[in-house]
């Protein structure tokens, strides 16, 4: 089906800016297109509109025309397949086969035809399990391949993918792309994929369309040609370029003393005693002036390990301790120090914990507690009992340092993805901890935020912080980590 846009623009209800503006576009049937652009460029909006899921009457205001196969997108919705980012919110059924059958049932396919088509669709994407396999036992990458099977079972003419591999580790992501390639080769369906990671998709696409920050068309053409002629403009707009590995920032000082160490750390989820522990027998040290990367496939226990190190999750056995951290707070008498020595990290009162360790969660929204950026930053220092003068000094400094000053009065939940990430790092820094732990900090970030994050963390490291981060972004690890440990099935591998 041909996608055709003429002067198309769209604005969400209640916004003053157009999300996409004055778009003229022709995509031929069977073309494979990568849609790139910085965060907030309207890529997902365009994709949703082409999928016929953007109701102009309810969602906002539209102008110009957008047709798919010569019709309004909503009229041909059944011929368009759509895969989103989060596999968790796309699976409907408890068994793999039932989930693939779901779409076929909806379209009224006769019962005796459904199951052969389910089997064919599972086969098409190279899905490794049978119909009766429970969806709850699949890994993230397997779930995405199942979602793809469910979409391909409907035999779409056009496949739309909205950052389908953003939640996945590199291996899982590669398998999903392989499945997409197989499915497209077998059916001849067209492809339109939105993704930050350009490199990965280039072998699959024959055209790249780039939107700029304001939602206008920046570049359109063959991949090699685009990246040669528009390299600078693209980089400036925060678009990932093929082979753009970014700067490499190593520690400028030798590693300082050990500030955090874990001994024989093991964690078993409550009620999962029949399964192997999520994390077992971990020995690990974090040193000042050093950045440690924790890598490993999805489900290997990386995030659990980060929570244990952060004193947020009580280990099943073993312990985590903080040493050589000078300013632990007002009650730094020998007796208080002794009692802290005896008390494991996860039993420390929260207001003492935040003086030593700052934790940045994968989803910034999980840690936002107030309605203003300023209050969000002031919260930690206030909990610690700082005077109002000190609080405002700390907050002003952080606002400036993380380029958030112009947003001081904004609601944290309304910020862009990159701004939310910066704010979540800033809130962790507000209590002046010596140790900073981050879980997938580059998750879903565009190139600009990605680069900013590297600069920021490198600066913090050189200022004496010990940094530990969980990541399955190999480029980020290569750019920043002084030391890397890999987890596999809950154990450290060399």
């Amino acid at each position: 089906m041909r996608i055709r846009a003429r002067g198309w623009r769209f604005r969400y209800a209640g916004r003053s800016e157009w999300a996409v503006r004055d778009l003229d576009l022709d995509i031929e049937p069977g073309e494979r297109v990568l849609l790139a652009g910085p965060s907030g460029a309207g890529k997902s909006t365009l994709l949703t509109a082409i999928a016929g899921l953007l109701d102009p009457d309810q969602a906002g205001e539209t102008a110009g025309s957008l047709t798919v196969g010569g019709e309004p997108p909503a009229a041909v919705r059944h011929r368009i397949g759509l895969v989103f980012q989060d596999p968790e919110t796309q699976l409907v059924m408890a068994r793999c086969g039932d989930d693939v059958a779901f779409g076929l049932e909806n379209l009224g396919v006769p019962t005796d035809v459904i199951w052969p088509r389910v089997d064919a669709a599972l086969d098409l994407t190279g899905f490794p399990y049978g119909r009766d396999h429970p969806t709850g036992r699949l890994s993230g990458g397997e779930k995405q391949r199942l979602v793809l099977s469910g979409v391909m079972a409907l035999d779409p003419d056009l496949l739309l993918l909205d950052e389908p591999t953003a939640n996945l580790d590199p291996e899982g992501a590669a398998l999903v792309r392989e499945a997409v390639d197989r499915a497209l080769a077998a059916t001849g369906a067209g492809l339109l994929v939105v993704d930050h990671r350009v490199d990965d998709w280039l072998p699959l696409v024959n055209r790249v369309i780039v939107l700029d920050q304001g939602g206008s068309l920046l570049a359109d053409g063959e991949p090699t040609q685009i990246y040669q002629s528009y390299a600078d403009a693209l980089q400036a707009a925060g678009v990932w370029l093929p082979g753009s590995s970014g700067p490499v920032r190593r520690a400028s000082k030798p590693a300082g003393p050990t500030v955090l160490f874990a001994e024989d750390l093991t964690y078993t989820y409550p009620g999962h005693t029949d399964r192997p522990p999520a994390v077992s027998d971990i020995r690990l040290e974090l040193q000042a002036n050093q950045a440690l990367a924790i890598t490993g496939p999805n489900g290997s226990g990386k995030s659990t390990l980060a929570l244990l190190l952060a004193g947020l999750l009580p280990p099943t056995s073993g312990r985590v301790d903080v040493t050589n951290v000078p300013d632990i707070g007002s009650a730094d008498t020998p007796a208080a120090r002794l009692s802290r020595r005896r008390r494991p990290l996860h039993r420390l009162p929260a207001r003492q914990l935040v003086r030593m360790i700052g934790t940045v969660f994968q989803d910034p929204e999980h840690q936002f507690l107030t309605q203003r950026v300023y209050d969000e930053l002031a919260l930690g220092p206030r909990v610690m009992g700082r005077s109002p003068d000190e609080v405002s000094r700390i907050v002003d400094e952080l606002l400036q340092r993380l380029h958030l000053s112009h947003l001081a009065d904004a609601n944290p939940f309304t910020l862009s993805g990159g701004e939310k990430r910066r704010l979540s790092v800033a809130t962790a820094l507000a209590t002046g901890p010596a140790i900073l732990l981050l879980d997938e900090p580059t998750f879903g970030q565009d190139l600009r935020t990605w680069l900013e994050l590297i600069e920021l963390l490198a600066e913090l490291r050189d200022a004496g912080h010990a940094i530990g981060f969980v990541s399955h972004d190999p480029q980020f690890v290569a750019a920043l980590a002084d030391r890397t440990v890999e987890l596999k099935a809950g154990r450290l591998v060399a």
Partner: protein, 268 residues
């Protein structure tokens, strides 16, 4: 949750387990209604006896049954004790008298009636749900009771998100601790903390729900289309037999009770 995640049925091919989910639902209703009316001990005792015999036909092993339903038994036991202590029906022979606590034959009978009724009413529902796959239940509801597919399968899909929500809750509580916020020993702070976390959880749940609804809609899940069923849940002769047997059981139990002269309508 764990009760739904790990079925207590060890043999899903057992004769009563294989009944149509709608049949099991009807059987539970057929049993519940007369027992809500009957106020004697004979009727529910006969029904409960038959139910306990049926446990095996549901493919439930006795050991598993007792272990997994200990909470139901504990509840029944405590209802019995509470009723024994609080009832004003203290007729009959006094068995023992500790001042405020007086136990008589009548108070034991009254309390036993309440406990047996409770168990006899609860058990069919527990067995019906424990032996039924949620997906097949939804299929059967849509096919035979003509419930709206949009609602039924929507609820089924939402159900799948419950464990995700539980994970999110744990994350939210930890994220608050990571910000230096913790209830500690203060109950007031605990309530404030809980309510703010519940609010965030709701916001997250609504966003998840919208994403799921969009994904379902993109796969053709709309109110208008005529849906087919991938897993038809036929009604077999066995389903009719099971209904007849259930009717015979409750009718028989009531008849026996009337014949013995014990049957009476419950008076609250």
């Amino acid at each position: 949750m764990s009760m739904l995640a790990e079925p207590i049925v060890s043999n899903p091919k057992a004769p009563l387990s294989r009944l149509n989910p709608v049949t099991k639902l009807a059987m539970a209703m057929l049993i519940t209604l007369p027992l809500l009316v009957a106020g004697d001990i004979v009727t529910p005792s006969i029904v409960l006896g038959a139910e306990l015999l049926a446990v095996a036909a549901f493919g439930v092993r006795w050991r598993v049954f007792v272990r997994r339903l200990w909470l139901v038994f504990l509840m029944t036991g405590s209802v019995f004790v509470t009723s024994l202590l609080l009832t004003d029906q203290r007729g009959g022979t006094v068995l023992f008298d500790l001042g405020i606590i007086v136990v008589t034959t009548q108070s034991i009978l009254v309390s036993a009636t309440i406990a047996v009724r409770l168990l006899a009413i609860a058990l069919p529902g527990v067995l019906a749900f424990a032996s039924t796959d949620p997906t097949e239940f939804a299929d059967a509801l849509v096919q035979h009771l003509r419930t709206s597919p949009r609602f039924t399968f929507g609820a089924l899909a939402a159900f799948r998100l419950l464990p995700v929500l539980a994970d999110e809750w744990r994350t939210l509580v930890m994220a608050r601790r990571a910000r230096g916020i913790e209830a500690g020993r203060s109950p007031i702070r605990r309530i404030r903390l809980l309510s703010s976390a519940v609010f965030t959880l709701l916001v997250c749940a609504i966003r998840r729900g919208i994403r799921l609804a969009t994904a379902m809609e993109s796969r053709g899940f709309t109110a208008t289309a005529t849906r087919t069923l991938a897993r038809p849940q036929p009604l077999r002769p066995a389903d009719g037999l099971a209904i007849l047997a259930t009717v015979a059981l409750v009718a028989g139990a009531t008849t026996v009770s009337i014949a013995l002269g014990t049957w009476r309508v419950i008076l609250w």
